[in-house]
């Protein structure tokens, strides 16, 4: 018994080692991971130690109406300023926290609802399955940006509601994905063994099927995070939040839109910040996908 357990642990250890070596052999994924970590550290610093970055007002934008016209990058304003006199460099530092936090919230909530519904739908089959799948069809029949805009509008135009609306639009992707995974796992022999040994439906669903559905879902989350952060900033860019005073990258980019011909940095710097983040997340997602790909592991 004892040797069996250590053998199992050794297997487990070897598997994790293979996964890590597959991930770290992908140069793009490693670069992506480093960039993502920089963003995460920045977000955590703004949240917990704003003084460390020299931020006096970490959760709001600081306007300067004495000199509202965008100023070019200089020693005191490394990325220049945007309308109305907002320093871009510190605002981008603050905005990373907002964008990162909210997009994580959107993806995790969407993934949670979708995975639960997808697994239940695959497991129950029949009319439940049909019903859930028809609902996802309906969600896919409206361009998600427009649907999120409409739902968010009805909920009320705030940052929280914008994130909630996006999560409501985002779960069907996960429901379909989790259902597909669960359907194939359901047919595997270990599920049959569990059923033969007398496990109930709920136990099979949550103890045996769900843990096997989760790894591909996590890869999907990392691939989706890059898209969600873009959609989130796009919604803020088109003016979803009235009189916003929040540091959000899309909103920051929209502030300088009227000056873009003479002051291109007002849009380019916030835009580049979000592009870099989305790029890094996508690279990490690609690396994680390789880890789960059996052809790459052998």
């Amino acid at each position: 018994m004892e040797t069996q357990k250590t053998e199992y642990e050794a297997d487990r250890f070897r598997e994790i080692k293979t996964s890590l070596s597959v991930f770290f052999s992908n140069k793009g994924a490693v670069v992506g991971l480093v960039i993502v970590l920089v963003y995460v550290v920045d977000a955590l610093l703004v949240q917990f130690f704003p003084q460390a970055l020299g931020l006096k007002h970490p959760y709001t934008l600081v306007s300067n109406y004495v000199n509202p016209v965008p100023q070019p990058p200089s020693a005191s304003y490394p990325f220049g300023t945007t309308f109305p006199g907002v320093d871009l460099f510190t605002s981008i530092l603050k905005a990373v926290r907002v964008d990162l936090g909210y997009s994580l919230f959107v993806v995790l909530l969407g993934a949670f609802i979708g995975t639960v519904l997808g697994v239940i739908s695959a497991f129950a089959g029949g009319i439940v399955d049909e019903f859930v799948m028809r609902i996802t069809d309906i969600f896919f029949s409206i361009p998600y940006l427009v649907l999120a805009l409409a739902i968010g509008f009805v909920l009320g135009r705030t940052l929280d509601n914008m994130a909630l609306a996006l999560a409501i639009v985002w779960w069907p992707i996960y429901a379909r994905y989790a259902r597909g995974q669960a359907l194939s796992i359901k047919e595997m022999t270990f599920v049959e063994a569990a059923r033969a040994s007398g496990s109930g439906g709920g136990k099979i669903m949550f103890r045996h099927i769900l843990p096997n559905v989760l790894p591909p879902i996590f890869v999907q989350i990392s691939l989706d995070l890059g898209t969600v952060v873009l959609v989130f900033s796009v919604l803020a860019f088109i003016g979803f939040i009235p009189n916003a005073n929040v540091p959000e990258l899309g909103y920051l980019a929209s502030l300088g839109l009227n000056y873009v011909a003479t002051a291109p940095w007002t849009v380019l710097f916030p835009g580049a910040a979000i592009t870099l983040f989305a790029l890094a997340v996508n690279l990490v997602g690609d690396g994680l996908r390789d880890v789960l790909d059996p052809r790459r592991r052998s």
């Binding site: 028809r134 609902i135 069809d137 309906i138 896919f140 029949s141 409206i142 361009p143 998600y144 940006l145 427009v146 649907l147 805009l149 409409a150 739902i151 509008f153 009805v154 909920l155 135009r157 890059g226 873009l230 900033s233 796009v234 860019f237 088109i238 003016g239 979803f240 009235p242 899309g250 980019a253 929209s254 839109l257 873009v260 011909a261 291109p264 849009v267 380019l268 835009g271 580049a272 979000i274 592009t275 989305a278 790029l279 996508n282």
Partner: protein, 351 residues
């Protein structure tokens, strides 16, 4: 014969989807509360008993005092009759159907132009990338499309405006036409051209080639932005599907029997690789329509998307839900058509 059964089944699925779409739009209309709906009909300057009287009259007229599921059928009946409510935005105020008739042609024209660009740029690049796998060219295509995929669409728009509009000054980037050109044209009033509402086509109908050329120039940047926003996904899918096809036995057979490489790619592989991307075009359409909202806003291009953002900024529930409904209908019917076309094109599809 089985093809027809498939099409019949596909049409049958259309019914719950349409019911679901209308139900979502209806539910959202009402989730905002009756006041938002009434605000579209009542003069905001009305107050006191006169306002209450108007509210009571409208509540009865719009059946707002009935149970919610009864209201849905009243609402659906009105929608089917073509009464989609009212919209009140700075760029247009009137009935929603009129607004759609006015703005839809512009959105359709830039979306179709963008779809054409995707077809012309995306397919050759995707095929090239797969055929020259892991070459310098393939890596360049992949890195570029990965970068584009990670860019928010407004950044693409602004980058194009700066490069082609501001620095090179070769393309215009605001509105549909240079206003000086149409200030004295009889078929153009208040930013609306007649009879089709598509300036390019109207100008050609009236034989005004200068205006037509200018309208076309104004279409290029919005369409190019839209195309670039969706292109990365198309190239990725096409490359993967081409690689898969090139690995098939019949390609090996073709090579073994001495078919020239060029013919293998162009005759044997490419057609089969494009097939899966046809269903992927559903995604493309959704991307184009969603992207249109942002692109039209940045370029001040008066289409459905511009109207949607204006409605959002002015808390106009009629405009937002009217556009949600029309976007949903377009997407549902384009994916229906694409599925049927796909079933005709690919004999291997399982019914």
């Amino acid at each position: 014969m089985r093809l027809w059964i498939y099409i019949a089944r596909r049409l049958l699925i259309l019914i719950p989807t349409l019911v679901g779409l209308t139900f979502i739009v209806f539910a959202l209309t009402h989730a905002g509360g009756n006041n938002l709906i009434l605000a579209e009909y009542i003069n905001p300057r009305l107050s006191g008993p006169a306002r209450e009287e108007a509210v009571a009259k409208l509540t009865a007229e719009l059946h707002l005092n009935q149970p919610i599921y009864v209201q849905y059928f009243y609402w659906l009946a009105e929608v089917l009759k073509g009464n989609w409510g009212y919209t009140n935005t700075p760029i247009f105020s009137g009935s929603v159907t009129q607004a759609i008739a006015l703005f839809m042609p512009n959105t359709l024209s830039i979306s179709l132009f963008a779809a054409l660009l995707i077809w012309v740029i995306g397919i050759p690049l995707g095929v090239f990338s797969a055929v020259n796998r892991d070459s310098v060219g393939d890596n360049a295509v992949r890195v570029t499309s990965f970068g584009l995929y990670s860019m928010p669409i407004y950044l693409i728009a602004v980058a194009l405006i700066l490069a082609l509009g501001v620095y090179l000054k070769v393309l215009p980037f605001a509105g549909v036409v240079n206003p000086l050109l149409v200030s004295n044209v009889p078929w153009y009033h208040n930013g609306i051209s007649y009879p089709t509402h598509i300036l390019l086509i109207d100008a050609i109908i009236h034989g005004d080639w200068v205006v037509a050329g200018n309208a076309f120039l104004h279409m290029i940047l919005p369409s190019l932005t839209l195309a670039l926003g969706v292109l990365a996904g198309v190239i990725r899918i096409l490359r993967a599907s081409m690689l898969e096809v090139l690995d098939q036995d019949y390609i090996k057979l073709a090579r073994a029997k001495g078919v020239p490489e060029r013919a293998v790619y162009n005759l044997h592989a490419r057609r089969n690789a494009i097939l899966p991307t046809v269903t992927f075009f559903g995604y493309t359409v959704a991307g184009l329509l969603g992207g249109a909202v942002v692109v039209e806003e940045v370029f001040n291009y008066p289409g459905i998307g511009y109207w949607t953002t204006q409605a959002l900024l002015n808390n106009d529930v009629g405009g937002i839900l009217g556009s949600t409904l029309v976007f949903g209908l377009i997407l549902i019917f384009t994916s229906l058509i694409l599925d049927i076309v796909y079933a005709f094109l690919d004999p291997r599809i399982k019914y």
